[in-house]
């Protein structure tokens, strides 16, 4: 019996040691991206365009590309904003990352770059190149690292306060120019029988979007960028504490759901503005045309936007905006890199970029001139214009920080909403997470 046990233990140990020896990356020869690709094989693509109305975009383009190059076919995996993170990690872990895949900017993109999974596209995409010069320079730079360009920015995104002009007029409220004016306007808006500000924080990130915009106003840019890196982070600027307090103020004073907001979906808040039940809703450019539709109570004429106003005497940059382009990377381990690049050139051609900017997709393309009055809704054009004029664009808080810190902010934001933690406690937890992530 003891012998049997001994053998079992020995075999188990041997298997464990054997397994431990497995793993490791795959080296693939760098492709010449400037060369004419071989138009044959199956291109796999992972997009964030799952669901209506976005899913036909890549499907239609793939069909058109196949009609031009009959030997090329496609395998398209379409995910949503919520599911793509998990799907991507599963594909990475199982060495099944597609030839072309979606990426946010910041730490999210850095993981692929540092892991050798993102093709260096500098030879074809640098701002002074033929293809690169068709993009807004800032959107290219958002995916740059050490002077190299690693992703094709597909569309820009930014966060603005969408408001109902009719409700504002009825309440006698002007567009607020300071954070204090915004808070002061809320009782008058509520008197109109609507929720002043619709807010749903069930997913946690809507709260982070408020926080990051307030950080941009209250904390200098150099301090922010230092704090996003665990190795140099201190998270001790007084502007952070001020931002957390201001976030609590806006939740308590302006939202109808207050400390219950963690139980409300962001889409419920979106719907509240769409149905005319809310005067304001803090939203991404990508959401504008979901709020204002043919069947919505709020009309395009009544829908306006403004940047979340900066607090008086803020120490940061009052002209900074929160936003980020989102784009596609080419798998550095793909044997079809040149073909993948060729397809992405096709996707970002002027015609296809205008198609992306227009209905029903309404994604503000990064291609210069693609977003205009003829292709996009007035609100989208205004949002993109403001984004282009911003002195500084700050990426999403959960994308620019490392996962441990992003998680601490996510939990902290929810705690601030429900009132279970003080701003000091939240900041202390963030510091601890940042220290442990070094």
């Amino acid at each position: 019996m003891n012998n049997v046990r001994l053998r079992v233990c020995a075999v188990s140990a041997a298997v464990l040691i054997g397994l431990t020896a497995c793993g490791g990356g795959i080296d693939v020869e760098a492709a010449d991206l400037t060369a004419e690709p071989e138009y044959e094989g199956t291109l796999s693509i992972l997009t964030k365009f799952g669901g209506e109305p976005l899913s036909p975009y890549f499907e239609d383009l793939a069909a058109e590309y196949t009609s031009m190059h009959p030997e090329v076919d496609f395998e398209i995996i379409q995910e949503t904003d919520q599911s793509i993170k998990d799907k991507t990690k599963t594909l990475v872990a199982s060495s099944a990352l597609p030839d072309i895949y979606f990426s946010w900017t910041g730490d999210y993109a850095d993981k692929f770059i540092e892991g050798g999974l993102a093709t260096d596209l500098t030879s074809v995409l640098a701002p002074d190149s033929e293809w690169g010069s068709t993009f807004g320079a800032a959107s290219l730079d958002a995916f740059a690292k050490d002077g190299k360009y690693f992703a094709v920015p597909l569309y820009n995104n930014g966060k603005f306060m969408g408001y109902n002009k009719a409700v504002f007029d009825a309440a006698g409220v002007a567009v607020p120019t300071t954070f204090e004016e915004l808070i002061a306007a809320c009782p008058a808006l509520e008197a109109q029988g609507v929720e002043p500000l619709a807010f749903g924080n069930k997913d946690g990130w809507p709260g982070l979007h408020f926080l990051q915009q307030l950080f941009a106003y209250n904390v200098p840019q150099d301090v922010l960028e230092k704090d996003f890196e665990p190795a140099t982070a201190a998270w001790d600027h007084p502007g952070y504490l001020k931002s957390l307090e201001e976030f609590q103020t806006v939740v308590q004073e302006c939202t109808g759901t207050g400390s219950d907001s963690n139980g409300v979906l962001y889409s419920t808040a979106q719907q509240a503005q769409s149905s005319g039940q809310a005067a304001m809703y803090f939203q991404e450019i990508l959401e504008f045309d979901s709020v204002v539709t043919e069947s919505s109570a709020i009309t395009a004429e009544d829908f306006g936007i403004f940047a979340l106003p900066a607090p008086e005497g803020a120490e940061g940059d009052p002209a900074a905006l929160e936003g980020s382009p989102e784009g596609m990377m080419v798998n550095a381990r793909s044997p079809r890199q040149a073909l993948a690049v060729d397809f992405l050139r096709f996707v970002t051609s002027k015609d296809n970029a205008e198609r992306l900017a227009g209905a029903p997709y309404s994604q503000p393309s990064t291609i210069i001139g693609a977003v205009s009055d003829t292709t996009a809704s007035p609100a989208v054009v205004e949002g993109v214009t403001e984004l282009n004029e911003a002195s500084y664009i700050l990426g999403w808080l959960d994308a620019v920080t490392v996962p441990d810190v992003a998680d601490a902010w996510l939990a902290g934001g929810e705690a601030l909403v429900s009132g279970s933690e003080t701003p000091e406690e939240v900041l202390s937890n963030v510091r601890a997470a940042s220290d442990s992530a070094e």
Partner: protein, 319 residues
């Protein structure tokens, strides 16, 4: 059919082989054939159950970078991290609360309800009630989770509307949005979804008890309560044991309903072990730590199963 035993030729003068020697020879002959029969199943079990278990154990002592594709041996660091992780302990508490409530509702409550239903004289009523209780179990957990998200919604949800309707406005709240109520709201939904299935299983177990025993108890003047404790409970012990194992193991493997309804929030208050494992692996890219949590879950569920099997084996009732 096994081949007849061949004896040595021309052994007429020799004494016949003793019986135990014959049996031993037969066992020796049959052994390779037995292995051949079970080999495919053992191979499948090995590849799809035990190899992943060993791999999980291996990952739990590594720091694994899925992007760079490399891993580093870190010994028991992931387990040390686990001990110092307040969310892990919170998740363990939530799982334990899940287990306790599920035991009360889905084992003891379901047994009591099954006894009441099976005690009804009308067969039509018995069938109708079994069907009614079983309906929630036919709904997938994901769908039930989404359904209850809207039940619990603070502004539009039916629960708060009911409370307001009966003048209990002070009790209305964001059931899934408050740290004090989120996990309990999820547990309540889970009981609603699983209660009918447990009741149906107990009903089947009660139907297997010979009617003579109930009749004999009635002739002896035993009332319904004593009959429940002295006939129904002892003679459904095996099913009760099985249900306890299933319920406790299930309580430590809860995932779907928490993921759909709260994703572990707000502020990690409704995390359970599997959602925390998932967050660590797919959220923080810390697959080594996630594997350590998975090992803890495995040890817990295996321990519960072994303990319960040992108890029920000792207390088996036959009639």
């Amino acid at each position: 059919m096994s081949a007849p035993l061949r004896t040595a030729p021309n052994r007429t003068a020799a004494a016949p082989l003793p019986l135990h020697a014959v049996e031993a020879a037969v066992r020796r002959r049959r052994r390779p054939r037995g292995w051949a029969w079970v080999a495919p199943a053992l191979l499948l079990l090995g590849v799809f159950v035990y190899l992943p278990l060993l791999q999980n154990l291996q990952y739990s002592v590594m720091k694994w970078d899925i992007y760079a594709g490399g891993s580093t041996f870190v010994g028991l660091a992931n387990y040390e991290k686990l001990v110092d992780d307040p969310v892990f302990w919170r998740a363990l508490f939530n799982n334990s609360a899940y287990a306790a409530v599920s035991l009360v509702c889905q084992v003891f409550g379901a047994l009591l309800l099954a006894a009441l239903v099976e005690g009804l004289r009308s067969e039509r009523w018995r069938r109708a009630l079994r069907a009614i209780y079983f309906v929630p179990s036919a709904i997938s957990l994901t769908v039930a989770g989404l359904l209850f998200y809207f039940v619990y919604e603070p502004e539009l949800g039916i629960l708060n509307a009911l409370l307001r309707g009966v003048g209990l406005d002070t009790l209305t709240q964001a059931w899934l949005g408050q740290e004090g109520t989120a996990i309990w709201a999820v547990i309540a939904m889970s009981q609603w979804q699983g209660f009918g299935y447990s009741t149906l299983l107990f009903a089947i177990a009660i139907q297997r008890i010979p009617q003579d025993l109930f009749d004999a108890a009635s002739l002896d003047g035993v009332g319904p309560i004593r009959r429940f404790f002295q006939v129904t409970v002892p003679l459904t012990r095996e099913m009760t044991g099985l249900m306890i194992i299933v319920t406790l193991s299930g309580a430590f493997q809860v995932f779907n309903e928490v993921m759909v309804m709260t994703s572990g929030g707000p502020n990690n208050s409704s995390q359970v072990l599997v959602t925390w494992l998932y967050r660590m692996g797919f959220g923080r890219n810390d697959f080594g730590y996630a594997a350590a949590i998975a090992t803890v879950i495995f040890v817990l569920t295996l321990g519960i199963a072994l303990l319960q099997l040992a108890i029920t084996r000792k207390r088996r009732v036959e009639w």
